[in-house]
Protein backbone atom coordinates (compact mmCIF):
# COMPACT_ATOMS: atom_id res chain seq x y z
CA UNK A 1 0.00 0.00 0.00
CA UNK A 2 1.10 3.56 -0.78
CA UNK A 3 2.76 4.81 2.46
CA UNK A 4 0.70 8.05 2.28
CA UNK A 5 -2.53 6.02 2.29
CA UNK A 6 -1.29 3.83 5.14
CA UNK A 7 -0.41 6.99 7.09
CA UNK A 8 -3.87 8.40 6.36
CA UNK A 9 -5.55 5.26 7.72
CA UNK A 10 -3.38 5.42 10.82
CA UNK A 11 -4.39 9.05 11.34
CA UNK A 12 -8.10 8.18 10.89
CA UNK A 13 -7.92 5.34 13.39
CA UNK A 14 -6.19 7.71 15.81
CA UNK A 15 -9.21 9.99 15.54
CA UNK A 16 -7.84 12.49 12.97
CA UNK A 17 -10.85 12.14 10.67
CA UNK A 18 -10.44 15.67 9.27
CA UNK A 19 -7.31 14.73 7.28
CA UNK A 20 -8.10 14.79 3.55
CA UNK A 21 -7.53 11.48 1.76
CA UNK A 22 -4.22 11.57 -0.17
CA UNK A 23 -5.89 10.56 -3.45
CA UNK A 24 -9.57 11.41 -3.16
CA UNK A 25 -9.14 14.56 -1.10
CA UNK A 26 -12.42 16.28 -0.24
CA UNK A 27 -14.46 13.82 -2.30
CA UNK A 28 -14.70 11.48 0.67
CA UNK A 29 -15.15 12.01 4.39
CA UNK A 30 -14.79 9.71 7.38
CA UNK A 31 -16.62 9.51 10.66
CA UNK A 32 -15.48 7.43 13.56
CA UNK A 33 -18.11 6.92 16.23
CA UNK A 34 -16.80 4.73 19.03
CA UNK A 35 -15.72 1.65 17.07
CA UNK A 36 -17.91 2.22 14.01
CA UNK A 37 -16.21 3.66 10.92
CA UNK A 38 -18.36 5.39 8.31
CA UNK A 39 -17.07 6.34 4.85
CA UNK A 40 -19.05 8.83 2.79
CA UNK A 41 -18.61 10.54 -0.53
CA UNK A 42 -18.77 10.27 -4.28
CA UNK A 43 -16.01 8.61 -6.27
CA UNK A 44 -15.46 8.66 -10.01
CA UNK A 45 -14.60 4.98 -10.47
CA UNK A 46 -16.01 1.68 -9.27
CA UNK A 47 -12.45 0.36 -8.76
CA UNK A 48 -11.67 3.27 -6.41
CA UNK A 49 -14.68 2.44 -4.27
CA UNK A 50 -13.83 -1.28 -4.17
CA UNK A 51 -10.25 -0.50 -3.11
CA UNK A 52 -11.35 1.93 -0.41
CA UNK A 53 -13.94 -0.53 0.94
CA UNK A 54 -11.30 -3.30 0.96
CA UNK A 55 -8.89 -1.10 2.89
CA UNK A 56 -11.60 -0.13 5.41
CA UNK A 57 -12.76 -3.70 5.98
CA UNK A 58 -9.20 -4.92 6.44
CA UNK A 59 -9.10 -2.69 9.52
CA UNK A 60 -11.97 -4.47 11.27
CA UNK A 61 -10.57 -5.78 14.53
CA UNK A 62 -7.76 -3.21 14.46
CA UNK A 63 -9.49 -0.31 16.12
CA UNK A 64 -12.90 -0.64 14.46
CA UNK A 65 -15.59 -3.22 14.87
CA UNK A 66 -17.91 -2.20 12.07
CA UNK A 67 -17.58 -0.41 8.73
CA UNK A 68 -20.46 1.42 7.02
CA UNK A 69 -19.91 2.24 3.34
CA UNK A 70 -23.56 2.62 2.36
CA UNK A 71 -23.05 6.33 1.66
CA UNK A 72 -19.88 5.87 -0.36
CA UNK A 73 -21.09 5.90 -3.95
CA UNK A 74 -19.75 5.97 -7.48
CA UNK A 75 -20.91 8.91 -9.62
CA UNK A 76 -23.06 7.68 -12.50
CA UNK A 77 -21.13 8.32 -15.73
CA UNK A 78 -22.93 8.48 -19.05
CA UNK A 79 -20.10 9.72 -21.22
CA UNK A 80 -17.84 7.27 -22.99
CA UNK A 81 -14.09 7.51 -22.42
CA UNK A 82 -11.70 7.42 -25.35
CA UNK A 83 -13.69 9.48 -27.83
CA UNK A 84 -12.43 12.99 -27.14
CA UNK A 85 -9.27 14.35 -25.60
CA UNK A 86 -8.33 17.74 -24.28
CA UNK A 87 -5.04 19.48 -23.60
CA UNK A 88 -4.68 21.56 -20.46
CA UNK A 89 -1.79 23.96 -19.99
CA UNK A 90 -0.70 25.54 -16.71
CA UNK A 91 2.17 27.91 -16.13
CA UNK A 92 4.46 27.93 -13.08
CA UNK A 93 7.23 30.23 -11.89
CA UNK A 94 9.95 27.78 -12.95
CA UNK A 95 10.60 24.23 -14.14
CA UNK A 96 11.04 22.83 -10.61
CA UNK A 97 7.62 24.12 -9.52
CA UNK A 98 6.07 22.82 -12.74
CA UNK A 99 7.63 19.43 -12.01
CA UNK A 100 6.09 19.48 -8.51
CA UNK A 101 2.72 20.36 -10.04
CA UNK A 102 3.02 17.47 -12.50
CA UNK A 103 3.97 15.04 -9.73
CA UNK A 104 1.08 16.25 -7.58
CA UNK A 105 -1.47 15.78 -10.34
CA UNK A 106 -0.25 12.30 -11.23
CA UNK A 107 -0.16 11.20 -7.58
CA UNK A 108 -3.34 12.79 -6.35
CA UNK A 109 -5.90 11.65 -8.82
CA UNK A 110 -6.62 9.19 -11.55
CA UNK A 111 -5.41 11.47 -14.32
CA UNK A 112 -3.67 9.42 -17.01
CA UNK A 113 -2.20 11.76 -19.62
CA UNK A 114 -1.76 10.47 -23.14
CA UNK A 115 0.87 13.15 -23.66
CA UNK A 116 2.70 15.42 -21.22
CA UNK A 117 5.63 17.79 -21.23
CA UNK A 118 7.19 20.61 -19.27
CA UNK A 119 8.31 23.44 -21.50
CA UNK A 120 10.46 26.43 -20.61
CA UNK A 121 12.99 28.59 -22.47
CA UNK A 122 15.33 25.64 -22.92
CA UNK A 123 12.90 23.58 -25.03
CA UNK A 124 10.36 26.16 -26.21
CA UNK A 125 10.70 24.88 -29.77
CA UNK A 126 8.54 21.85 -28.80
CA UNK A 127 5.48 23.99 -28.19
CA UNK A 128 4.31 23.96 -31.80
CA UNK A 129 4.21 20.15 -31.79
CA UNK A 130 2.11 20.06 -28.62
CA UNK A 131 -0.42 22.83 -29.17
CA UNK A 132 -2.58 24.16 -32.00
CA UNK A 133 -0.98 27.11 -33.79
CA UNK A 134 -3.46 29.71 -32.44
CA UNK A 135 -2.56 28.90 -28.82
CA UNK A 136 1.22 28.80 -29.19
CA UNK A 137 1.57 32.59 -28.99
CA UNK A 138 -0.34 32.82 -25.67
CA UNK A 139 1.76 30.09 -24.09
CA UNK A 140 5.00 31.43 -25.58
CA UNK A 141 4.24 34.75 -23.84
CA UNK A 142 4.31 32.96 -20.45
CA UNK A 143 7.60 31.27 -21.33
CA UNK A 144 9.06 34.63 -22.38
CA UNK A 145 8.24 35.87 -18.85
CA UNK A 146 10.57 33.16 -17.55
CA UNK A 147 7.79 30.76 -16.55
CA UNK A 148 7.63 27.01 -17.22
CA UNK A 149 4.47 25.44 -18.58
CA UNK A 150 3.06 22.02 -17.91
CA UNK A 151 1.18 20.59 -20.91
CA UNK A 152 -1.03 17.53 -20.37
CA UNK A 153 -3.38 15.85 -22.80
CA UNK A 154 -6.06 13.71 -21.15
CA UNK A 155 -9.46 12.18 -21.82
CA UNK A 156 -12.08 14.92 -22.09
CA UNK A 157 -13.84 14.05 -18.83
CA UNK A 158 -10.57 13.77 -16.89
CA UNK A 159 -9.84 17.30 -18.09
CA UNK A 160 -12.32 18.63 -15.48
CA UNK A 161 -10.29 17.06 -12.69
CA UNK A 162 -6.98 18.07 -14.26
CA UNK A 163 -7.86 21.75 -14.69
CA UNK A 164 -9.44 21.82 -11.21
CA UNK A 165 -6.29 20.39 -9.64
CA UNK A 166 -4.00 22.74 -11.56
CA UNK A 167 -6.15 25.80 -10.80
CA UNK A 168 -7.00 25.11 -7.17
CA UNK A 169 -4.40 22.75 -5.72
CA UNK A 170 -1.09 23.72 -7.27
CA UNK A 171 0.86 26.98 -7.40
CA UNK A 172 0.04 27.55 -11.05
CA UNK A 173 -0.12 31.19 -12.16
CA UNK A 174 -2.27 30.77 -15.24
CA UNK A 175 -4.07 27.97 -17.06
CA UNK A 176 -5.61 27.29 -20.43
CA UNK A 177 -7.80 24.58 -21.92
CA UNK A 178 -7.48 23.73 -25.59
CA UNK A 179 -10.97 22.85 -26.89
CA UNK A 180 -11.85 19.12 -26.99
CA UNK A 181 -10.63 17.23 -30.05
CA UNK A 182 -11.08 13.72 -31.42
CA UNK A 183 -8.90 11.33 -29.43
CA UNK A 184 -5.42 10.74 -30.88
CA UNK A 185 -5.20 7.70 -33.07
CA UNK A 186 -8.93 7.65 -33.71
Amino acid sequence: MDPRIAAWWNAVLAGETDEPHPIHGGHISVRLHRDRLELRGVLDRREDRAELVRQARSRIGKGVREVDVSRLVVAPRLERPGLLEQTIVASFTDRATAELGRKFVLEHDRVAPTREAIIDRTNAGRLSSLLPREHVEDVQRRIDLGEAVLVMRVDEIAAFTLRGLLEEETRSRWSLAIPPEAAGGV
Binding site: G25, G26, L78, E79, L84, L162, E168, I178, P179, P180
Partner: protein
Amino acid sequence: MSEIARRKTAAKRATAREIAREHLSAADIAKIVGPGVISGGADNDPAGIATYSIVGATAGYAQNWLLFLATPMLIVVQQMSAKVANVTKTDLATLLRTIYGARVATPAVLLMVMANVITMGADLLAMAAAVQLVTGVRYIYLIVPTATLMGIVTIFLDYRRMSRYLLWLVGVFATYILAAFLARPNWIDVVRSTFVPGVRFSVDYMFAAVAMLGTTITPYLFFWQSSGEIEEKRGVQRLRRTNLDVGIGMAWSNVTAFFIIVATGSVLYAHHAHVRTAADAARALEPFAGHYASALFAIGIIGAGLIAIPVLAASSAYGVAGLAGWRRGLGRPARSAPQFYLVIGISFLIAMQLAISSVDPIKALFYSQVLDGLIAPFLIVLMLLITSSRKVMGDFVNGPITNVIGWAAAGVMVLADLALVYQLAANGLPS
Protein backbone atom coordinates in the same frame (compact mmCIF):
# COMPACT_ATOMS: atom_id res chain seq x y z
CA MET B 1 -21.57 -2.29 -34.17
CA SER B 2 -21.21 -0.97 -30.64
CA GLU B 3 -21.96 2.68 -29.90
CA ILE B 4 -18.28 3.43 -29.23
CA ALA B 5 -17.16 1.69 -32.44
CA ARG B 6 -19.82 3.60 -34.39
CA ARG B 7 -18.61 6.87 -32.95
CA LYS B 8 -14.96 6.01 -33.60
CA THR B 9 -15.73 5.18 -37.24
CA ALA B 10 -17.65 8.42 -37.57
CA ALA B 11 -14.80 10.28 -35.90
CA LYS B 12 -12.50 9.69 -38.87
CA ARG B 13 -14.35 12.38 -40.76
CA ALA B 14 -16.23 14.20 -38.00
CA THR B 15 -15.65 17.25 -35.86
CA ALA B 16 -15.39 16.98 -32.08
CA ARG B 17 -18.91 18.38 -31.90
CA GLU B 18 -20.28 15.57 -34.07
CA ILE B 19 -18.39 12.91 -32.10
CA ALA B 20 -19.71 14.28 -28.84
CA ARG B 21 -23.34 14.32 -29.96
CA GLU B 22 -25.47 12.14 -27.71
CA HIS B 23 -28.69 10.43 -28.72
CA LEU B 24 -31.34 10.91 -26.05
CA SER B 25 -34.24 8.57 -25.49
CA ALA B 26 -37.57 9.62 -23.98
CA ALA B 27 -36.48 7.91 -20.74
CA ASP B 28 -33.29 10.00 -20.67
CA ILE B 29 -35.31 13.19 -21.11
CA ALA B 30 -37.62 12.24 -18.24
CA LYS B 31 -34.61 11.85 -15.92
CA ILE B 32 -33.04 15.21 -16.66
CA VAL B 33 -32.72 17.22 -13.50
CA GLY B 34 -29.43 19.01 -13.27
CA PRO B 35 -28.02 22.46 -12.61
CA GLY B 36 -30.31 23.89 -15.33
CA VAL B 37 -33.54 22.88 -13.64
CA ILE B 38 -32.19 24.07 -10.28
CA SER B 39 -31.14 27.38 -11.89
CA GLY B 40 -34.69 27.69 -13.23
CA GLY B 41 -36.01 27.19 -9.71
CA ALA B 42 -33.55 29.75 -8.35
CA ASP B 43 -34.44 32.25 -11.09
CA ASN B 44 -37.86 32.71 -9.52
CA ASP B 45 -36.52 33.77 -6.15
CA PRO B 46 -38.62 35.89 -3.76
CA ALA B 47 -37.22 39.01 -5.44
CA GLY B 48 -38.33 37.67 -8.81
CA ILE B 49 -41.80 36.85 -7.53
CA ALA B 50 -42.11 40.31 -5.99
CA THR B 51 -40.93 41.92 -9.23
CA TYR B 52 -43.39 39.97 -11.37
CA SER B 53 -46.16 40.79 -8.87
CA ILE B 54 -45.32 44.51 -9.00
CA VAL B 55 -45.13 44.43 -12.79
CA GLY B 56 -48.55 42.76 -12.97
CA ALA B 57 -50.10 45.05 -10.37
CA THR B 58 -48.74 48.30 -11.85
CA ALA B 59 -48.76 47.59 -15.59
CA GLY B 60 -51.27 44.75 -15.97
CA TYR B 61 -50.27 42.54 -18.88
CA ALA B 62 -48.45 45.39 -20.69
CA GLN B 63 -45.02 43.81 -20.24
CA ASN B 64 -45.97 40.22 -21.13
CA TRP B 65 -44.30 40.69 -24.52
CA LEU B 66 -41.04 41.50 -22.81
CA LEU B 67 -41.18 38.30 -20.76
CA PHE B 68 -42.03 36.34 -23.91
CA LEU B 69 -39.10 37.97 -25.71
CA ALA B 70 -36.80 37.31 -22.76
CA THR B 71 -37.53 33.56 -22.66
CA PRO B 72 -35.39 32.41 -25.63
CA MET B 73 -32.78 34.97 -24.56
CA LEU B 74 -32.64 33.50 -21.06
CA ILE B 75 -32.39 29.95 -22.41
CA VAL B 76 -29.59 30.88 -24.82
CA VAL B 77 -27.60 32.85 -22.23
CA GLN B 78 -27.83 30.02 -19.69
CA GLN B 79 -26.94 27.44 -22.34
CA MET B 80 -23.88 29.52 -23.20
CA SER B 81 -22.91 29.62 -19.50
CA ALA B 82 -23.19 25.83 -19.35
CA LYS B 83 -21.40 25.22 -22.64
CA VAL B 84 -18.45 27.47 -21.91
CA ALA B 85 -17.82 25.58 -18.65
CA ASN B 86 -18.10 22.17 -20.31
CA VAL B 87 -15.69 23.14 -23.09
CA THR B 88 -13.09 25.03 -21.05
CA LYS B 89 -13.46 22.87 -17.91
CA THR B 90 -13.56 25.86 -15.63
CA ASP B 91 -16.05 28.32 -14.19
CA LEU B 92 -16.96 31.74 -15.54
CA ALA B 93 -14.91 33.81 -13.09
CA THR B 94 -11.73 31.82 -13.76
CA LEU B 95 -12.36 32.10 -17.47
CA LEU B 96 -12.84 35.87 -17.33
CA ARG B 97 -9.61 36.16 -15.33
CA THR B 98 -7.53 33.93 -17.61
CA ILE B 99 -8.86 35.41 -20.86
CA TYR B 100 -9.42 39.09 -20.07
CA GLY B 101 -7.22 39.52 -17.00
CA ALA B 102 -8.03 40.82 -13.53
CA ARG B 103 -8.91 44.32 -14.79
CA VAL B 104 -12.03 43.00 -16.52
CA ALA B 105 -12.78 40.00 -14.32
CA THR B 106 -12.61 41.80 -10.96
CA PRO B 107 -15.26 44.49 -11.63
CA ALA B 108 -17.49 41.90 -13.36
CA VAL B 109 -17.36 39.60 -10.34
CA LEU B 110 -17.59 42.36 -7.73
CA LEU B 111 -20.65 43.91 -9.38
CA MET B 112 -22.30 40.49 -9.41
CA VAL B 113 -21.39 39.95 -5.74
CA MET B 114 -22.81 43.37 -4.83
CA ALA B 115 -26.11 42.68 -6.60
CA ASN B 116 -26.23 39.20 -5.04
CA VAL B 117 -25.79 40.47 -1.49
CA ILE B 118 -28.51 43.08 -1.95
CA THR B 119 -30.80 40.46 -3.48
CA MET B 120 -30.04 38.07 -0.60
CA GLY B 121 -30.97 40.80 1.87
CA ALA B 122 -34.19 41.45 -0.02
CA ASP B 123 -34.94 37.71 -0.25
CA LEU B 124 -34.36 37.28 3.50
CA LEU B 125 -36.78 40.14 4.10
CA ALA B 126 -39.34 38.50 1.84
CA MET B 127 -39.02 35.15 3.59
CA ALA B 128 -39.41 36.82 6.98
CA ALA B 129 -42.42 38.78 5.70
CA ALA B 130 -43.92 35.53 4.38
CA VAL B 131 -43.50 33.84 7.77
CA GLN B 132 -45.14 36.90 9.35
CA LEU B 133 -48.16 36.34 7.08
CA VAL B 134 -48.88 32.97 8.64
CA THR B 135 -47.52 33.35 12.18
CA GLY B 136 -48.23 37.00 12.92
CA VAL B 137 -44.70 37.42 14.36
CA ARG B 138 -43.18 40.72 13.13
CA TYR B 139 -40.82 40.04 10.24
CA ILE B 140 -38.00 42.06 11.76
CA TYR B 141 -37.63 39.43 14.52
CA LEU B 142 -37.50 36.61 11.98
CA ILE B 143 -34.61 37.85 9.84
CA VAL B 144 -31.72 36.75 12.09
CA PRO B 145 -33.02 33.21 12.71
CA THR B 146 -33.87 32.80 9.02
CA ALA B 147 -30.42 34.00 7.89
CA THR B 148 -28.65 31.86 10.51
CA LEU B 149 -30.57 28.75 9.48
CA MET B 150 -29.94 29.38 5.79
CA GLY B 151 -26.24 30.01 6.42
CA ILE B 152 -25.87 26.74 8.33
CA VAL B 153 -27.73 24.82 5.62
CA THR B 154 -25.54 26.29 2.87
CA ILE B 155 -22.23 25.79 4.63
CA PHE B 156 -22.70 22.46 6.37
CA LEU B 157 -25.20 20.46 4.28
CA ASP B 158 -24.97 19.10 0.73
CA TYR B 159 -26.96 21.87 -0.90
CA ARG B 160 -26.84 20.55 -4.48
CA ARG B 161 -28.45 17.28 -3.42
CA MET B 162 -30.97 19.03 -1.16
CA SER B 163 -32.03 21.51 -3.84
CA ARG B 164 -33.45 18.66 -5.93
CA TYR B 165 -36.03 18.11 -3.18
CA LEU B 166 -36.55 21.79 -2.45
CA LEU B 167 -37.60 22.28 -6.08
CA TRP B 168 -40.90 20.65 -5.18
CA LEU B 169 -41.65 23.52 -2.78
CA VAL B 170 -41.39 25.96 -5.65
CA GLY B 171 -44.00 23.85 -7.39
CA VAL B 172 -46.38 25.80 -5.14
CA PHE B 173 -46.06 28.63 -7.65
CA ALA B 174 -47.79 26.43 -10.18
CA THR B 175 -50.87 27.53 -8.24
CA TYR B 176 -50.44 30.90 -9.96
CA ILE B 177 -51.41 29.10 -13.17
CA LEU B 178 -54.70 28.01 -11.59
CA ALA B 179 -55.14 31.39 -9.91
CA ALA B 180 -54.66 33.12 -13.28
CA PHE B 181 -57.37 30.99 -14.90
CA LEU B 182 -59.76 31.38 -11.95
CA ALA B 183 -59.29 35.17 -12.01
CA ARG B 184 -60.92 35.07 -15.46
CA PRO B 185 -58.63 37.48 -17.25
CA ASN B 186 -59.50 38.84 -20.65
CA TRP B 187 -57.51 36.23 -22.59
CA ILE B 188 -57.64 38.25 -25.79
CA ASP B 189 -55.83 41.06 -23.95
CA VAL B 190 -53.39 38.60 -22.44
CA VAL B 191 -52.54 37.04 -25.82
CA ARG B 192 -52.33 40.43 -27.56
CA SER B 193 -50.02 41.88 -24.91
CA THR B 194 -47.85 38.76 -25.12
CA PHE B 195 -47.27 38.86 -28.85
CA VAL B 196 -47.67 42.56 -29.69
CA PRO B 197 -44.98 44.77 -28.13
CA GLY B 198 -46.20 47.97 -26.55
CA VAL B 199 -43.75 50.40 -24.97
CA ARG B 200 -44.76 53.26 -22.68
CA PHE B 201 -42.12 55.91 -22.14
CA SER B 202 -42.49 56.53 -18.42
CA VAL B 203 -40.19 56.07 -15.43
CA ASP B 204 -42.49 53.43 -13.88
CA TYR B 205 -42.64 51.40 -17.08
CA MET B 206 -38.89 51.53 -17.65
CA PHE B 207 -38.13 50.65 -14.02
CA ALA B 208 -40.45 47.66 -14.32
CA ALA B 209 -38.90 46.66 -17.68
CA VAL B 210 -35.31 46.79 -16.35
CA ALA B 211 -36.30 44.97 -13.15
CA MET B 212 -38.16 42.28 -15.07
CA LEU B 213 -35.29 41.72 -17.48
CA GLY B 214 -32.83 41.78 -14.56
CA THR B 215 -34.75 39.23 -12.54
CA THR B 216 -35.24 36.99 -15.58
CA ILE B 217 -31.79 37.15 -17.21
CA THR B 218 -29.92 37.47 -13.95
CA PRO B 219 -26.11 37.63 -13.55
CA TYR B 220 -25.71 35.24 -10.61
CA LEU B 221 -27.31 32.46 -12.64
CA PHE B 222 -24.53 32.69 -15.25
CA PHE B 223 -21.92 32.02 -12.56
CA TRP B 224 -24.06 29.37 -10.84
CA GLN B 225 -24.74 27.51 -14.08
CA SER B 226 -21.09 27.35 -15.11
CA SER B 227 -19.94 26.28 -11.64
CA GLY B 228 -22.73 23.67 -11.49
CA GLU B 229 -21.48 22.15 -14.74
CA ILE B 230 -17.95 21.92 -13.31
CA GLU B 231 -19.25 20.07 -10.23
CA GLU B 232 -21.41 17.75 -12.36
CA LYS B 233 -18.57 17.17 -14.88
CA ARG B 234 -21.00 16.50 -17.71
CA GLY B 235 -18.57 17.42 -20.49
CA VAL B 236 -19.28 18.10 -24.13
CA GLN B 237 -20.54 14.57 -24.72
CA ARG B 238 -23.62 15.50 -22.74
CA LEU B 239 -24.21 18.94 -24.20
CA ARG B 240 -27.61 17.98 -25.63
CA ARG B 241 -28.69 16.75 -22.21
CA THR B 242 -27.31 19.94 -20.65
CA ASN B 243 -29.13 22.14 -23.17
CA LEU B 244 -32.36 20.28 -22.55
CA ASP B 245 -31.92 20.54 -18.77
CA VAL B 246 -31.33 24.28 -19.09
CA GLY B 247 -34.16 24.75 -21.60
CA ILE B 248 -36.70 22.94 -19.40
CA GLY B 249 -35.59 24.79 -16.26
CA MET B 250 -35.68 28.24 -17.84
CA ALA B 251 -38.91 27.68 -19.76
CA TRP B 252 -40.66 26.50 -16.59
CA SER B 253 -39.29 29.50 -14.72
CA ASN B 254 -40.75 31.91 -17.28
CA VAL B 255 -44.07 30.08 -17.63
CA THR B 256 -44.50 30.54 -13.88
CA ALA B 257 -43.45 34.19 -14.18
CA PHE B 258 -45.97 34.71 -16.98
CA PHE B 259 -48.84 33.40 -14.86
CA ILE B 260 -47.74 35.44 -11.84
CA ILE B 261 -48.09 38.54 -14.02
CA VAL B 262 -51.44 37.38 -15.43
CA ALA B 263 -52.78 36.55 -11.95
CA THR B 264 -51.59 39.80 -10.35
CA GLY B 265 -52.66 41.76 -13.44
CA SER B 266 -56.17 40.26 -13.28
CA VAL B 267 -56.65 40.52 -9.52
CA LEU B 268 -54.63 43.59 -8.50
CA TYR B 269 -54.18 45.81 -11.58
CA ALA B 270 -57.85 45.43 -12.53
CA HIS B 271 -58.80 46.76 -9.06
CA HIS B 272 -56.08 49.45 -9.03
CA ALA B 273 -54.45 47.76 -6.05
CA HIS B 274 -50.71 48.22 -5.42
CA VAL B 275 -48.20 45.70 -4.10
CA ARG B 276 -46.61 47.28 -1.05
CA THR B 277 -46.50 44.30 1.31
CA ALA B 278 -46.25 40.52 1.08
CA ALA B 279 -49.94 40.38 1.98
CA ASP B 280 -50.75 42.50 -1.08
CA ALA B 281 -48.76 40.17 -3.31
CA ALA B 282 -50.49 37.12 -1.82
CA ARG B 283 -53.92 38.52 -2.79
CA ALA B 284 -53.31 37.42 -6.40
CA LEU B 285 -53.74 33.82 -5.22
CA GLU B 286 -57.16 34.50 -3.67
CA PRO B 287 -59.19 33.39 -6.72
CA PHE B 288 -57.59 29.96 -6.32
CA ALA B 289 -56.95 29.62 -2.61
CA GLY B 290 -59.44 31.99 -0.97
CA HIS B 291 -58.58 32.42 2.71
CA TYR B 292 -55.56 30.15 2.28
CA ALA B 293 -53.93 32.51 -0.24
CA SER B 294 -51.54 33.94 2.36
CA ALA B 295 -50.45 30.52 3.59
CA LEU B 296 -49.90 29.27 0.07
CA PHE B 297 -47.97 32.38 -0.89
CA ALA B 298 -45.85 32.06 2.26
CA ILE B 299 -44.98 28.42 1.48
CA GLY B 300 -43.99 29.38 -2.06
CA ILE B 301 -41.85 32.33 -0.95
CA ILE B 302 -40.13 30.25 1.74
CA GLY B 303 -39.45 27.47 -0.79
CA ALA B 304 -38.18 29.99 -3.36
CA GLY B 305 -35.95 31.58 -0.74
CA LEU B 306 -34.61 28.22 0.44
CA ILE B 307 -33.53 27.46 -3.12
CA ALA B 308 -32.37 30.89 -4.23
CA ILE B 309 -30.51 32.31 -1.21
CA PRO B 310 -27.87 29.54 -1.09
CA VAL B 311 -27.53 29.86 -4.88
CA LEU B 312 -26.92 33.62 -4.53
CA ALA B 313 -24.38 33.16 -1.73
CA ALA B 314 -22.62 30.31 -3.54
CA SER B 315 -22.53 32.24 -6.85
CA SER B 316 -20.70 35.06 -5.07
CA ALA B 317 -18.30 32.58 -3.50
CA TYR B 318 -17.66 30.81 -6.83
CA GLY B 319 -16.97 34.21 -8.41
CA VAL B 320 -14.55 35.43 -5.73
CA ALA B 321 -12.82 32.02 -5.41
CA GLY B 322 -12.48 31.83 -9.21
CA LEU B 323 -10.85 35.26 -9.22
CA ALA B 324 -8.44 34.33 -6.45
CA GLY B 325 -7.80 30.72 -7.55
CA TRP B 326 -9.06 29.32 -4.24
CA ARG B 327 -10.48 25.85 -3.74
CA ARG B 328 -14.18 25.96 -4.33
CA GLY B 329 -17.33 23.88 -4.56
CA LEU B 330 -20.45 23.12 -2.58
CA GLY B 331 -19.50 19.46 -2.95
CA ARG B 332 -16.44 20.08 -0.76
CA PRO B 333 -16.69 20.05 3.03
CA ALA B 334 -16.15 23.47 4.68
CA ARG B 335 -12.73 22.48 6.06
CA SER B 336 -11.49 21.67 2.55
CA ALA B 337 -12.42 25.07 1.03
CA PRO B 338 -12.37 27.54 3.94
CA GLN B 339 -12.09 30.77 1.89
CA PHE B 340 -14.96 29.72 -0.37
CA TYR B 341 -17.22 29.12 2.63
CA LEU B 342 -15.95 32.28 4.32
CA VAL B 343 -17.28 34.31 1.37
CA ILE B 344 -20.63 32.54 1.80
CA GLY B 345 -20.65 33.34 5.52
CA ILE B 346 -19.75 37.00 4.98
CA SER B 347 -22.43 37.29 2.28
CA PHE B 348 -25.02 36.06 4.78
CA LEU B 349 -23.83 38.51 7.45
CA ILE B 350 -23.99 41.53 5.12
CA ALA B 351 -27.34 40.44 3.67
CA MET B 352 -28.73 40.02 7.19
CA GLN B 353 -27.54 43.51 8.11
CA LEU B 354 -29.13 44.93 4.94
CA ALA B 355 -32.38 43.10 5.67
CA ILE B 356 -32.52 44.42 9.22
CA SER B 357 -31.81 48.01 8.22
CA SER B 358 -34.11 48.09 5.20
CA VAL B 359 -37.57 49.48 5.77
CA ASP B 360 -39.54 48.44 2.73
CA PRO B 361 -39.13 44.75 1.77
CA ILE B 362 -41.00 44.99 -1.52
CA LYS B 363 -39.03 48.05 -2.70
CA ALA B 364 -35.75 46.39 -1.69
CA LEU B 365 -36.67 43.32 -3.72
CA PHE B 366 -37.59 45.41 -6.73
CA TYR B 367 -34.53 47.69 -6.76
CA SER B 368 -32.14 44.75 -6.33
CA GLN B 369 -33.52 43.40 -9.60
CA VAL B 370 -33.02 46.79 -11.28
CA LEU B 371 -29.34 46.53 -10.31
CA ASP B 372 -29.18 43.04 -11.85
CA GLY B 373 -30.69 44.47 -15.03
CA LEU B 374 -27.94 47.08 -15.21
CA ILE B 375 -25.10 44.55 -14.72
CA ALA B 376 -26.34 41.67 -16.88
CA PRO B 377 -25.67 43.10 -20.38
CA PHE B 378 -21.99 43.68 -19.55
CA LEU B 379 -21.59 40.01 -18.58
CA ILE B 380 -23.62 38.75 -21.54
CA VAL B 381 -21.34 40.63 -23.95
CA LEU B 382 -18.22 39.14 -22.34
CA MET B 383 -19.75 35.68 -22.52
CA LEU B 384 -20.75 36.15 -26.16
CA LEU B 385 -17.22 37.19 -27.07
CA ILE B 386 -15.84 34.06 -25.38
CA THR B 387 -18.36 31.61 -26.84
CA SER B 388 -18.02 33.09 -30.34
CA SER B 389 -14.26 32.56 -30.32
CA ARG B 390 -13.23 29.44 -32.23
CA LYS B 391 -9.89 29.65 -30.44
CA VAL B 392 -11.58 29.15 -27.05
CA MET B 393 -14.50 26.94 -28.06
CA GLY B 394 -13.13 24.93 -31.02
CA ASP B 395 -15.92 22.99 -32.72
CA PHE B 396 -18.32 24.10 -29.98
CA VAL B 397 -18.32 27.74 -31.04
CA ASN B 398 -21.73 29.48 -31.08
CA GLY B 399 -23.92 28.95 -34.11
CA PRO B 400 -25.55 31.92 -35.86
CA ILE B 401 -28.93 31.50 -34.06
CA THR B 402 -27.27 31.49 -30.64
CA ASN B 403 -25.25 34.58 -31.56
CA VAL B 404 -28.29 36.48 -32.87
CA ILE B 405 -30.36 35.70 -29.77
CA GLY B 406 -27.43 36.39 -27.43
CA TRP B 407 -26.62 39.78 -28.97
CA ALA B 408 -30.33 40.60 -29.04
CA ALA B 409 -30.47 39.88 -25.28
CA ALA B 410 -27.58 42.24 -24.62
CA GLY B 411 -29.09 44.84 -26.98
CA VAL B 412 -32.58 44.75 -25.46
CA MET B 413 -31.16 45.06 -21.94
CA VAL B 414 -28.86 47.95 -22.88
CA LEU B 415 -31.78 49.75 -24.60
CA ALA B 416 -33.98 49.27 -21.52
CA ASP B 417 -31.14 50.54 -19.27
CA LEU B 418 -30.58 53.62 -21.46
CA ALA B 419 -34.32 54.36 -21.61
CA LEU B 420 -34.49 54.12 -17.81
CA VAL B 421 -31.50 56.43 -17.35
CA TYR B 422 -33.07 58.92 -19.79
CA GLN B 423 -36.44 58.79 -18.01
CA LEU B 424 -34.76 59.24 -14.63
CA ALA B 425 -32.80 62.23 -15.91
CA ALA B 426 -35.95 63.76 -17.38
CA ASN B 427 -38.49 62.94 -14.66
CA GLY B 428 -36.61 61.92 -11.49
CA LEU B 429 -37.28 58.91 -9.26
CA PRO B 430 -40.84 57.55 -9.04
CA SER B 431 -42.67 58.04 -5.75
